[in-house]
């Protein structure tokens, strides 16, 4: 390698390290903050009989993509005696149909509110409302004029199998109130979807 190029590489290395000091500090701060939040939530949650279900959400739109991702929901005694849950979900075709395929990569972020009927039963009916944001990557600047994002709003109705432990397995059918026709909204936002979630209550006290 010519001397000039070695010099340039070293120069680049000293100027732009893999993780810059500022970024490293921010990362450490974020990790510390997350651990502190989790510790506080667990401590507070255990004291208040709170539930924090964390798990996976598997979603299939009728006649379109499978989109999978993560979900979390929280409740405590003050929220309608643990019948009302608030949560956050993220599902994406990147973890579904678009995984190793030419399907459109699209992401959905949802804020959810769920109500579980028949407390203490093994099988509990549930209703849920979601609001959120949808974004699709159409893959080329050729399609820059086409809409690729949209707000999301959908109700869901379904059932949850809730054994005594921390496990919850739920399935529901949802309807996207906002869909796209490719002119006024993204063309890959379809109306009806089914979803299944498998979650674990991370605040559940260990049985002794």
């Amino acid at each position: 390698m010519p001397i000039g190029l070695i010099g340039q590489a070293m120069d680049m290395r000293t100027r732009i390290p893999l993780i810059q000091p500022g970024k490293r500090r921010r990362k450490r701060f974020l990790v510390t903050g997350l651990v502190a939040w989790l510790t506080a939530t667990v401590a507070f949650g255990q004291a208040n009989n709170a539930v924090l279900d964390v798990g996976i959400r598997l979603q299939k739109t009728v006649n379109l993509y499978t989109e999978n991702g993560f979900t979390a929901q929280y409740t405590n005694r003050a929220l309608a005696h643990q019948r009302l849950y608030f949560g956050l979900s993220y599902v994406t075709s990147r973890l579904g149909t678009a995984l190793n395929s030419n399907a459109i990569k699209q992401d959905n972020v949802l804020v959810t509110a769920s109500y579980y009927f028949l407390p203490n039963r093994l099988i509990r009916p549930l209703v849920r409302v979601n609001a959120g944001y949808f974004k699709a990557d159409l893959g080329s600047p050729i399609f820059a004029d086409l809409p690729n994002s949209s707000p999301l709003a959908s109700p869901e109705i379904g059932l949850c199998i809730c054994p005594k432990g921390g496990l919850k397995v739920s399935a529901s059918i949802g309807y996207n109130l906002i869909t796209g026709d490719g002119v006024d909204g993204p063309g890959t936002l379809y109306p009806v979807f089914g979803q299944a979630s498998i979650t674990w209550n991370v605040l559940k006290k260990k049985d002794h």
Binding site: N63, L64, L138, S140, F143, D145, D181, G182, P191
Partner: protein, 310 residues
């Protein structure tokens, strides 16, 4: 009363399913008249007009133009008129299976029947010795042609020089089509409420069975695109897509762009057209036609012809 419920439900479903559309004799649906290509195929199909071409004729470009769902050969009549200035280019206007005849014929046909009319003409031309064939499809024919490529139809055959797709459909703009499997039996059919003048060229009523076939074929093609479709060697594909197509979702073009590659792995060409018409190359019988619409049509006809003559 409880025992009666299932019976009442059956009666309700029965009534819903037996609904028949109110077809009048001036509609294509009536079966009182057919698409003109049925009566005079030699005026529409090159294989019938010149079944034994001379070596010079066999070298001339032939465009096989295929129309969309519920349409007829009328959809490409303006191209025929335009081609009078290019007498060296032949045009075959194919009538898709089940189309251009009657509501009952339409209702019975599957998407495989629709597609068969294209392969029949292609096969006749190939057998007659035509070497320079271009496939041109609008709307649903876009999906039918893509499926033909993926199915391996062109393996060990004369390869088409071009596959040109005008407003192809892979995603429907009307998302309720995705629910046709559930809603279809309750609907029976859909009234297009199209202008009266179009009734003799486009089916006025769409039987739910055909909408299911449409959903089926676009689903098949979407899944094939997800896996990847490779064009045969020496074949190029171009998509012309209306930016504000109200029928075939413009994102269909993105799915085709991502899903189809040439034989040497290159992306295909896509041209987004500044139009709000579906199948913007057909301007006859439109309520309003702007100067831009005229320009779009002429530019696309010229591009199609130049590519066919290449």
């Amino acid at each position: 009363m409880k025992a009666l419920l299932p019976f009442l439900l059956l009666v309700f479903l029965g009534i819903a399913c037996s609904k028949e559309p109110d077809i009048t004799p001036d509609m294509l649906d009536s079966g009182t008249f057919f698409d003109p290509s049925v009566y005079e195929p030699e005026k529409y199909l090159v294989s019938k007009a010149i079944p034994n071409p001379t070596p010079e004729q066999a070298q001339r470009p032939v465009i096989i133009a295929c129309h969309g769902y519920s349409a007829s050969t009328f959809e490409w009549d303006e191209l025929r008129t335009w081609l009078t200035i290019k007498p060296d280019v032949y045009l075959s206007q194919v009538l898709l299976g089940g189309h251009g005849r009657s509501y009952e014929e339409f209702k019975k046909a599957t998407w495989r029947d629709w597609q068969a009319a294209i392969t029949e003409e292609y096969s006749r031309l190939e057998s007659a010795g035509y070497k320079n064939i271009t496939l041109l499809g609008s709307s649903t024919s876009g999906a039918l042609l893509l499926e033909l490529v993926q199915s391996g139809y062109f393996t060990n055959r004369t390869v088409p020089r071009n596959i040109l797709l005008v407003d192809p459909i892979v995603l429907s703009s009307d998302k309720s089509l995705s629910l046709i499997g559930i809603l279809g039996p309750m609907l029976g059919y859909i009234d297009t409420e199209q202008p009266k003048a179009e009734d003799q060229y486009y089916y006025h009523f769409r039987p739910q069975e055909t909408l299911r076939e449409l959903q089926r074929v676009i689903n098949v093609v979407r899944k094939e695109l997800e896996k990847g479709i490779t064009l045969p060697a020496n074949c190029v594909l171009k998509v012309y897509k209306s930016k504000k197509d109200p029928v075939a979702d413009p994102a269909s073009a993105a799915l085709i762009y991502k899903g189809v590659k040439t034989a040497d792995g290159q992306p295909v060409e896509v041209e987004m057209i500044n139009s709000d018409l579906h199948v913007y190359t057909r301007l006859q019988l439109r309520d309003k036609v702007s100067a831009i619409d005229q320009l779009n049509q002429t530019a696309t006809f010229m591009d199609i012809t130049n590519r066919a003559m290449r």
